[in-house]
Assembly symmetry: C2
DNA sequence: TATTTTAATAAAAACGTTTTTATGATATTA
DNA sequence: TAATATCATAAAAACGTTTTTATTAAAATA
């Protein structure tokens, strides 16, 4: 076992400066007035020993480690990455560090991770996306441990949350396609048993159809969970098979996430379909790459960084006991028009 | 300030079970034999109170928090995300949690983040990619704080590291293009003053040219730092301007990272160039999207997950005092052939 | 049986902080 | 001048663990 050279402790500083431990603490935290002469001695000792207080030991006493953690299903997704970027910036500016816990879309893992992190005396917790189980979140929220849920629609308004209106956003996507006179609209999605977000988007799709007097065609709905693992290849294969089976294809597709669209586009183009001339596509998320596929993807933009910063600010406000006006925040979405949607050929 | 409902401590368990604190500790850690009868009482009390030891307090005593942290320049990059995924898996399996620190390509930030994390009693540290300054890394490595550097070529063999041979890999890319009879080969890169990785790839490019008896043409080297911020748009604009200036363009491009290729492809296609018929492109990294641009990108693959898992295993071996056979590990790269390279038209 | 060894548990110290309480000097008041 | 208030600092307690040392009871030995 490698042995670390011992870091100087507050005791060492006190000895070096010839004062009491508490005086050093008072100088560091400015909790009491300390005569300039003594204060200077302490400061000098701190500098000389290159002392920095041990946050952990401090946390043991103060119950705050200035650390918040984020539990999310997948660290490899550019969508999450952007949201986290928004969080990170806020956290850093407000003096907190971030711990990431990753569940890899394993439901049980979420609670386990939560416990592991809680053991480390974190000040607060952000839960990302989700599964429909949230008893554990309710529980710790009831225990007054600061929690914010992001990207998951929870029916308990006591749990602070930041989200978009998935149903409405997806309805807008249908409307948008209909404004181009599409009447046959396919839908690519995760399976939606366990995830409200996924389900609500699907509901939005259905609502949109109804609203535009289009009858629902189950053959146009393709379910694909490979994307969860960032395996675009999976979507590509599924769509390819779909096309090879000689299924009738709709004049337009909505994908529940941009990721689906990449595989979809590739498969369609390989089979000779031109986009948007033969098939229109609208995605969801507006991931950075969507502007660089061919054709560039029209998509429903989620305000990713804003979601992140909003959630982190909300959490830290709660952690620090500030007043929060609204603890269930809904952020707007927006359609980014690029080149993948046009009138049906 | 919201007040948390107090978590039960080991003291509460001891009282509940009617034994001494140390006995509880012995039961939990199996440090001493405890009679089954007493042990059962303790276990029951633990269960009843839903007690979990406070890792922080434990860490204060044992000097280990079972936490390692990763300092990286950008959390939003799919390349890093994949590497981190590899790390996360290993860390989790070996019972550690991860803290991420993000520097956003700010050199000063790296040392600051390092100090912040060190204050939290982490067991070890992985530094990602890099800048040429590494006195601070040397310093803490000398202090026997376990460190591993990844994706940065450091000339000090005392610092454990995991990397690829960037020079060689890039040379291979040149060879590959030459095998298609390309003689005019452009190069897209970050500016390379401060980053050995970037510079070494460039050197590989130059070596490759020399080896294949191609004279170096500075006009073919495009420097673009926008990609650092994941702004593919930036590359697109630079290349577009390049093309509009009527510059002669090479028959093939190498990009130092796949990200450049996306903007490059878009700009070229907009100006009517066909890929690979008019211009061939080979990237570097093999990011997931590279299989889904049009044409699919031929690229030099970095073994991202393997790099991550290797680095984490190396770090934890050091942390746990295991013997490490080789502390400067070089992993192989490989050319992934897709559709963006062909013979010059 | 008296003494020593061993086993099991309890008590206390330690980790590095902050915070509360105690101390002693100085300044203020009666 | 004696009593009191204030100020600056020191000492001690606390946070929740692990680890070291002490204690007690039982078992083994002489």
């Amino acid at each position: 076992m490698k042995k670390k050279t011992k870091h100087p402790s507050i005791k060492d500083v006190a000895k070096e400066a010839g004062v009491a431990i508490s005086t050093v603490s008072n100088v560091i935290n400015e909790t009491r007035f300390v005569k300039e002469e003594i204060s200077n001695k302490v400061l000098k000792a701190i500098k000389k020993l290159n002392y920095r207080p041990n946050i952990i030991a401090r946390g043991l006493r103060t119950k705050s480690t200035k650390t918040v953690s984020i539990i999310l299903p997948d660290i490899g997704s550019p969508f999450f990455a952007q949201v986290i970027k928004g969080m990170e910036e806020v956290a850093r500016n407000r003096g907190y560090t971030l711990i990431l816990g990753c569940t890899f879309y394993n439901i049980e893992e979420e609670e386990r991770q939560m416990n592991v992190l809680l053991d480390k005396l974190i000040d607060g917790l952000i839960f990302f996306c989700g599964y429909d189980k949230y008893e554990h979140i309710k529980k710790i929220n009831d225990q007054k441990i600061p929690v914010v849920v992001i990207d998951r629609e929870i029916d308990d308004p006591n749990i602070p949350s930041v989200m978009i209106n998935n149903t409405l956003a997806m309805e807008t996507a249908v409307d948008y396609l209909c404004s181009f006179n599409h009447r046959e609209i396919g839908y690519l999605t995760f399976s939606f048993e366990n995830q409200t977000t996924v389900r609500n988007r699907y509901i939005g799709y259905c609502n949109g159809l109804k609203k535009n007097k289009i009858s629902y065609n189950p053959k146009f709905v393709i379910i694909d969970d490979s994307v969860r693992l960032n395996e675009i290849e999976g979507t590509y294969n599924i769509v390819k098979k779909f096309l090879e089976n000689g299924e009738k294809i709709p004049t337009a597709f909505i994908t529940m996430a941009d990721f689906f669209a990449y595989g979809l586009i590739k498969a369609l183009k390989e089979k000779g379909y031109r986009i948007p001339r033969d098939v229109s596509i609208i995605g969801f998320d507006n991931i950075i790459f969507s502007g660089f596929v061919d054709p560039p993807l029209t998509t429903v933009k989620q305000p990713k960084k804003l979601m992140g910063s909003t959630a982190m600010n909300l959490l830290l406000d709660i952690v620090e006991g500030r007043e929060v006006k609204e603890k269930n925040i809904i952020l707007p979405t927006e359609i980014i028009e690029r080149g993948s949607v046009g009138p049906p050929g």
